[in-house]
């Protein structure tokens, strides 16, 4: 089974993407695109397994997020690693919408972004390429102190000094 990094551990990934041409929901933990989630929304209640949704960095999440907040997993896609919109989307999910489920980075992000991604609220990382995940996880520990407020730090340094 493929693996991913979650909560600072390497674990098996039980989730699979729903095929683009799927006519119904097969059993198991399924990741749906937002468009698929809209199409299959009436079947989700009866689905055997979990359902999560992949949203894009450019999503106007204010308009779509409400019904997604009860899902156990929201994945945010990085079309390429230099596209930093996902950082803001994750921050909004945690800070504004108090989302407590798994926020998973998918797509083109890279190992050297892990620390900043985790500060913005990502707690799971699914790399496209097959890399040494325990080696990569070291990048989660790049810094032990930080100036700003973020999803994992409710007070800025100036309130803690």
């Amino acid at each position: 089974m493929p693996q991913l990094l979650k909560d600072n551990r390497v674990i098996e990934d039980s989730w699979t993407y729903l095929a683009e041409d799927a006519q119904s929901l097969p059993d198991g933990d399924l990741l749906l695109s937002y468009a698929q989630w809209q199409i299959f929304s009436d079947q989700i209640e009866a689905h055997r397994g979990n359902v999560g949704v992949v949203i894009e960095g450019n999503a106007e999440i204010e308009d779509i997020i409400e019904p997604l907040l009860k899902l156990p997993l929201i994945a945010i896609n990085f079309p390429k690693f230099a596209d930093g919109r996902g950082f803001s989307v994750a921050s909004l999910l945690r800070d504004r919408y108090n989302y407590c489920g798994e926020i998973r980075a998918v797509g083109g992000f890279i190992r050297d972004q892990l620390y900043l991604l985790s500060r913005c609220g990502f707690n799971a990382f699914k790399f496209i390429e097959d890399i040494d995940l325990s080696e990569a996880s070291k990048s989660l520990e790049d810094f032990s102190e930080t100036y700003q407020v973020s999803a994992d730090q409710e007070n800025p340094l100036f309130r803690r000094r």
């Binding site: 960095g57 450019n58 690693f81 230099a82 596209d83 930093g84 919109r85 950082f87 803001s88 989307v89 921050s91 800070d95 504004r96 890279i110 050297d112 972004q113 620390y115 900043l116 991604l117 500060r119 913005c120 790049d142 810094f143 032990s144 102190e145 930080t146 100036y147 700003q148 407020v149 973020s150 409710e154 007070n155 800025p156 340094l157 100036f158 309130r159 000094r161």
Partner: protein, 554 residues
Amino acid sequence: MYKYDNYDHKIVNERVEQFRDQTQRYLAGEIADEEFLPLRLQNGLYLQRLAPMLRIAVPYGMLSSAQVRKLAHISRVYDKGYVHFTTRQNIQLNWPALEEVPDILSELAEVEMHAIQTSGNCIRNTTTDQFAGVARDEIEDPRPWCELIRQWSTLHPEFAFLPRKFKIAVCGSEEDRAAFLLHDIGLQLVKNDAGELGFEVFVGGGLGRTPIIGSSIRKFLPKQHLLSYLDAILRVYNRFGNRDNKYKARIKILVKAWTPEVFAERVEAEWEHIKDGPSTLTDTEFARVKSFFPLPQYQTIDGADSAKQLATTASDNIAFSRWLDRNTQLQKQAGYRSVTLSLKPAGVAPGDVTDKQLETIADLADRYSFGELRATHNQNVVLTDVVESDLFELWQQAKQSGLATPTIGTINDMICCPGGDYCSLANAKSIPVAEAIQRKFSDLDYVYDLGDLELNISGCMNACGHHHIGHIGILGVDKKGKEWYQIQLGGSANKNAALGKVLGPSLSRDEITDGIEKLLDVYVENRIADESFLNTYQRIGIEKFKERVYASTT
């Protein structure tokens, strides 16, 4: 100036180790070129035409003598014995070896310096007035605010991969010496009717390919909300800025597309959610950061008496008197002046200094300026708080080290990017043009007669040499593999900021100095009394200049 505590040291040291690890993995082939690119840029490292270039951050231009000595040491050990002062008050090394960069960063960390976010699509070094704290027209010292912004922007988790680079400037005085209207965010310190301190917030200014003057989006932002408001602006930009075309990716394009009014509404809506949150600044924090910028222990000096003595000394020595006139500034403290050490002698790339000169600058700062100095966006160095009776001695020592060229604010004090000699983006060389102009106009009486004149040179349209805001701007362009130079007139970077207008077809390298001379002739013939070049241009328009320059070449 600001002193690191354990937290600041820890963050900077961990950044050094992070970059050391990244460099090792890159050299071992474990990180691809295109992935290493933003990682190294976020640490100020470019791979240039001839060698790497490392840009070191000088937060809001402040340096201590100890830091300057360290820079001299680094330039000697790891480079060719000189450094370059940039137009963003930073310092560049032109010849470091990639594998030694982590060691350089580690040495910098010892003196509370770093190269964090000096390049890349992230929040860059915050800049301000080189006369902060001593300017006579100051509303409030901008440096504590710059430091608060520095800490907020350093490794901000959400804004490390913006659509494009992002620059913030703070202006604390009546006159603008920070070109804050030409920044992604320009902050003007203001007081409201109740006497409370806050900011007028401007966004969407910038140079580059599409120069635009910033628009005010909030007349008064109470000071305690500074960081959450910046968060709101950056979040809107990060989410909605253009990412498809790098030439349309700066915030100015978004502000223009939405209009400043709509942009302001989006920011205010975002801010509503976060405005009274934990990022709200506290009085304790204001007091803490402010305490790092105390007034020095001034002596009580009889201003009139001191001025009289200085005038006597100057009357005996024409060279000193010229320098006094051009290179020193009165301060709000009687009997003290700020001295600009010129990094623009003819024959040296504007902004370049040797290791020896750096050490002299450090010595002068220790002796005369409480051990501190400032880098300016005009690529010079300022020593503040010099007792007037020390000026003659200081001048003699500066002169010996080639730091007293008495041309500050004149045509020969030009701003100039590294250009085609170093930079891989450049379309044309800029340093030889600067030198040719300095050589052509070497008669000081003529230069003084021309008075205040800003001449800015960029080697390409990215505009690192700020050509759009020079009274005379020169832009290097490439035409079929040959270097040509476009002239612009009438730019200005003060509160009535204006962008220069293109004079006409570009000139060849051979024609450029003659072209400039003709512009100056038109000015001298047409000026009324003490009118400056810029004012004359504004009064008579571009046509007369154009006719003269192109009359003989066509």
